[in-house]
Structures are given as C-alpha cells and as structure tokens.
C-alpha cells in the first residue's frame, strides 16, 4: 500500500473513546506459561508459570509502577500487555474495547492496539537493529505507517534532541558506537515516534547515570504532559518508582502481591515481601553498611511454585494456613490491596484482624 501525499501528515495520537473514568487498560486473569522441553523427543516435560493470574488496571494519565523479584514475570507481563506474546488466558480491555476483537464481535483489532501501545525494552542492545543507523531506527516505524521519509527523518532528529542526543553528532551512528545509556535514550525516542497512548517502560533508566536519569525522568514527565501519555513503569530502583508512580504494583513469582497508591505502599506496606523489598534498599552511607540481607533463602522455582502463598518459603510471618490456601486479595484502604493471610480478616492467620461482628 502506497500512502498518498495527503496521508503523509504527521501521525497523531488516537482519540480518547471511553472518557476519563474508563481505565485505559484493564487486565483480568492474565496467564502465560512457557513449556520446557526435554528428553529424547523434545516433549514438553514441565511449564514455567511466568505469569499466573495477574489482574491489573492502568488509569488514564497515570503512571503505574511495577516492581518485584527478578524473574517474577514483569517483562513477560509487559510483553503480554504489548501483545508481543499471546496470553494463555485472561482478558484485556483497552479504553473500553476488548483487545484482539474483530468487526463482528466489536473490540479493537491487534494492529490498531499495537500502534497505541509502545514499549521500551530492558535490554537496550538486543532491541536495536545493529545494521540501522540511529536515525533510521527511529524513522522506521513512522515510515511503515506512511509518513514520508523526509518527515520521518525530521521527526527522528526532533526526538533525538528531545532525549538529549545532538542529532548532528549521533544521527548517523550505529548502535555499537554508543554507550549503554545513549542506546537506552534511542529506545525511548523510538517508542515515542508513533505517538502512542500507553508506553510500557521496562527498566528505562537502569542503564543511565544519575544526572542523565534525572534528565530522562524529567523528560518522561514532560512528554507525558505534552502528549497525554499513560505509563507502566517497570523498575528495580525503588527510589525512582516512588518518584514517578501514582500507583504501585508489587509482583512475586507470577502473581500480584500488593497494589495501591504510592504513599500507601511506601508508608504502610502490608505484604511481607513488599516490606523486605523496601528494607533492602542500599544505603549511600558506608557507615550504615549492611552485613545481613533482609531476605534470605532461594527465590522459589516458577516451575514448581510453593503451595498456598508463593512467598511462604521466605516469609518471616508464615504460618500453617499459608501453605494450605492461596491468600486472596485483602482490601485495606481505598485501592490498597494485599494478597496475604496476615492482613485478611478471618483467614486463620495469627496476625489477621478479627472480623467485625
């Protein structure tokens, strides 16, 4: 399909459909298991339960911070939200429309969905094509969507400048000629090239030095305002997540452990894993150096997760009930939920609140 000159205008963001109260993205019961093959005939011998029943809501214009154990399924969740992977189960509703629908059933087609949701990947190197210059990389998707080459190039230069890389110096370089931090800024510029509504940022600043990190965070805040963006922000840096997020979701081994407004999570963490996570933040003061990690023990195996609560094998508060039943989400205060028996009234856990008569 050749785009006519009239089509070659700037890409614009898709319009709002459901109004401000409609969440931008609602996900229920998301599941992704990866088969493990083995033996002589490469038969499936087990599955990695990478994402195992995740519910999440991303409201319009907010930043949802996602934190959790390495390997708990954050990147897999991100790839599912992007629909780079097909979920095994679960439903996704984008601005009121079911994702992956068709004309008969209603809903939003994957092709349209994918333009409105963009991602910045964790591995900045592997996600850039080594044979394309920086400017070609950023201009690639807009060109595919019918923007003229000249305009796509101009736009790529604007975006380079916006992420703090002088186009004259960098536009014609190849990915291997850049530092890790410089490559990550290219990834951010590329994700914004299609004017998306939702941007999923998988560790977008972890490769950057602190002054560039501050610049990129300021930039992300500006871009969000300017283009009306919504972010899902995955990071291991708890200070950064606290700074940028409106709400926070804590994952552990393929499940949501706790979710709530950022102040609640940081000031009143309810799940023992969240507490351990917050207590593990390194200290800049060498005289307060730690000698014992707050959390010990091996992270359990997602192939064969523990019965009941998945955190129980490392949890300082675990009791018999924790091995018997999986803890449902307990509602604590408005929008603050934790999946732990110790905060669930009537769960049978010694620390659980009594049910009000």
């Amino acid at each position: 399909m050749v785009a006519s000159p009239e089509d070659m205008t700037q890409l614009t963001q898709a319009p709002d459909r459901g109004g401000p109260a409609q969440p931008l993205l609602e996900v229920r019961g998301l599941v992704k298991h990866f088969p493990i093959r083995g033996g002589l005939f490469g038969r499936q011998v087990a599955v990695v339960r990478a994402v195992d029943g995740v519910d999440l809501t991303i409201r319009k214009g907010e930043t949802l911070g996602i934190v959790g154990e390495s390997g708990c399924g954050k990147s897999t969740t991100a790839r599912l939200l992007m629909r780079l992977l097909d979920p095994d189960a679960g439903e996704m509703v984008f601005d009121g429309e079911s994702v992956g629908g068709n004309d008969q059933a209603g809903g939003i087609a994957l092709r349209d969905y994918r333009r409105q949701v963009q991602m910045v990947f964790q591995d900045s190197y592997a996600s850039l094509n080594p044979r394309l210059t920086i400017e070609e990389t950023i201009a690639f998707a807009p060109k595919v969507h019918g923007v003229s080459p000249t305009e796509a190039r101009e736009r790529s230069h604007d975006l380079l400048a916006a992420v703090g890389l002088a186009p004259a110096q960098f536009a014609r370089r190849y990915p291997h000629e850049l530092s890790g931090g410089q490559r990550q800024r290219i990834n951010i510029a590329r994700a914004l090239a299609l004017q998306p509504r939702l941007v999923i940022l998988d560790e977008p600043v972890s490769a950057l030095d602190k002054s560039v990190e501050a610049q990129v965070l300021n930039l992300l805040m500006d871009l969000k305002e300017k283009f009306g963006l919504t972010y899902a922000f995955i990071s291991h840096d708890l200070n950064v997540v606290q700074y940028i997020s409106d709400r926070v979701l804590v994952m552990y081994l393929g499940k949501v452990a706790e979710t709530g407004p950022v102040e609640e999570i940081y000031d009143r963490p309810a799940h023992p894993y969240t507490r351990a996570l917050l207590a593990s933040r390194p200290s800049m003061d060498p005289s307060k150096r730690r000698t014992e990690p707050p959390l010990t023990g091996d992270p359990p195996n997602p192939v064969n997760p523990p019965s009941g609560c998945r955190f129980r094998t490392r949890c300082p508060m675990a009791e018999a009930v924790c091995a018997e039943r999986e803890p449902p989400s307990a509602h604590l205060t408005a929008g603050h939920e934790a999946a732990c028996h110790a905060v669930m009234p009537g769960s049978g856990h010694g620390a659980a609140p009594r049910i009000a008569a």
């Binding site: 934190v67 959790g68 154990e69 390495s70 390997g71 708990c72 990147s75 964790q122 591995d123 900045s124 190197y125 592997a126 703090g164 890389l165 002088a166 110096q169 000629e177 850049l178 530092s179 890790g180 931090g181 410089q182 560790e203 490769a207 950057l208 030095d209 602190k210 002054s211 560039v212 990190e213 501050a214 965070l217 300021n218 805040m221 291991h236 840096d237 200070n239 700074y243 950022v262 996570l277 593990s280 933040r281 390194p282 200290s283 800049m284 003061d285 060498p286 150096r289 730690r290 000698t291 014992e292 990690p293 707050p294 959390l295 010990t296 091996d298 992270p299 359990p300 195996n301 192939v303």
Partner: protein, 330 residues
Amino acid sequence: MSAALKMDPAAPLVRARDLSVRFVNRDTTVHAVNGVDLDLAQGEVLCLLGESGSGKSVTLRALMKLLPKQAKVGGSIEVAGRDVQAMSERQLADFRGGDVAMIFQEPMTALDPVFTIGRQIAEAVQRHEGASRSAADARALELLELVQIPSAKRRLAAYPHELSGGLRQRAMIAVALACKPKLLLADEPTTALDATVQIQVLLLLRELQEKLGMGVIFVTHDLGVAGEIADRVAVMYAGRVVEEGPVGPFMAGPLHPYPQGLLGATVHGGMRGKRLTTIPGAPPSLEKLPEACSFAPRCPIAEPACQQGVPEARPMGPGRMARCIRAVAP
C-alpha cells in the same frame, strides 16, 4: 602457573598510567579515554562512577585487552605484574578468565546463546584449570549454588534466553568466578536485580572478594551500591577520572563540581512531584581531544582560567584527588 600467584602481596594488582583509547573510523575519531591513571591494591574494591558515555566500560575492556581493532590504546597497563599491552593472543587467553574475569553490562552479549549455562561454566573451568569433564560439571553446579540460582541443578541445562534478566546476571557472575580470578571487573552487575537480590549479591561479592582476596573494579550508577561495597570511588567524566578517594568522605562531600551535581541529581524519597535537579547541558563531543576542563561548559563555578588547559590531578587530603582548579581540600 599464573604469575599472579607469585605476586608480592604489597604489589598493586592494577596499575594503569596515562591510559588512552581512541576509536578511529573512516570519518571520525572518538576520544573515549583520555589519560586515566588507575591503581588497585590486591583485595581492594574500587567503584567506578560517572557520566554515561564517559569511558567506564571502555576502560574496563582495555584492562583485559578486549577492545575491537579500530581502538587505538595508549599508555601502560599492568595487571598482576604483567604488561597487558605486550601479551600475545595465547597469553591473553590464559589471562582472561584465569587472572582476570569480567561481568558484562549486558549479559546476553557475553553468554553464548547456543550453549547451556552449565556447559559454559564447565568449559571455562576445563580450559583454565585442565579439570576433567566430570570435575568441571560438578564445579559448575557448585558455582550456580554459590550465586544462589534457584534449582541450580536444573538450570545447568538452561539456555541463556530461558533465564530472566536477574538469573542471567547471576549466571554471568558464576562464569566469571569459575577460575577464582585475582581481579574481577564488574560492569553494572546488579543493575538488573531486584533490591532483595541485589543486596544478597553485593554481600555475596563482598564475601567472595574477602575470601578469595580478589580485587574488584565495579562500575555502577547507583551510589547506594557504592555505599555498600566500595573501599574507594573514582568518578569519570569525558574519558578522565575527575575525582577519586575513599568512599566515606566522598559520599559525605564530593569535591569536584561534576560528582557534586551527580549526588544532587540522585532521586530519593520525598522528591515526588518536584522537578529533579539535573546538570544543565550535555556532555562534550569526544570527537576532539578536550583542551580545557571538559566539565567547564556545564560547571556552575567555572571561571576563565578553567578554559586554560586540562586541570591537573590535585591531591586533596588523605587519599583524595580532584581535577578541578577550584576544588578546595576539606
């Protein structure tokens, strides 16, 4: 036997003088490292901080002679008493992974995608220690357990792409430790880990470093990480070390305006809703060799004299150095 084993215990493990690295292409030259002096004692942990693109990874690679051909390396590099620049390919093969090991910034580029994790570790052990295959396999399992990879036995058979970022990073650490190196070069090895695992890995590295008497150069952007494990800190800007000193006094008050800006830009609790302080401007192009203080165009206290030549490394009290004509010793 490797020369390192016969070293005088007081001899420095790393001694680099006036190290420079230029990348020369058809139409451009990038002056990535411009006169770096580095000293590391045996059993010491040095954290290398600095601007992204300031030459930290290139410096580490130079210490292992792991740079591409178009890189022109100048100055002298001694590691474990040996002249790295003068080593032959044969000697380098023994040296890397034997005396010196590296944990890379991007594990996927260092792990071989077509071999299982177990094979890659065992391979390294066999190559450097001439161990039998079964001894090497047993050691691979031991190493995966050492770096606390869950269900280590099963993960021996995993391919790199089957592991999460954090597990890959631990696998890399296991590969690096396979031959009990004297010097470990770690390029942001904990950036991909969650806080609970990060602190475990830091404590683990610190423990192994003390136990094996290993020297470590640790690149990080996280001042918290430096606070947890560094003995000394060196900060790079535009291919030079602009400040260096023991970690405590550095954290309490850096002397050079660049690290001062860096500490000021660090995000911490209670900054929500506020615009973050950044260092205005952008780092200099490295296409020309800087003839003045590279930080001057962005420096809040620059004066005309800052444009007159590259500032000398000035001693600033016990073990401290700053390359700034305006820095005052505390």
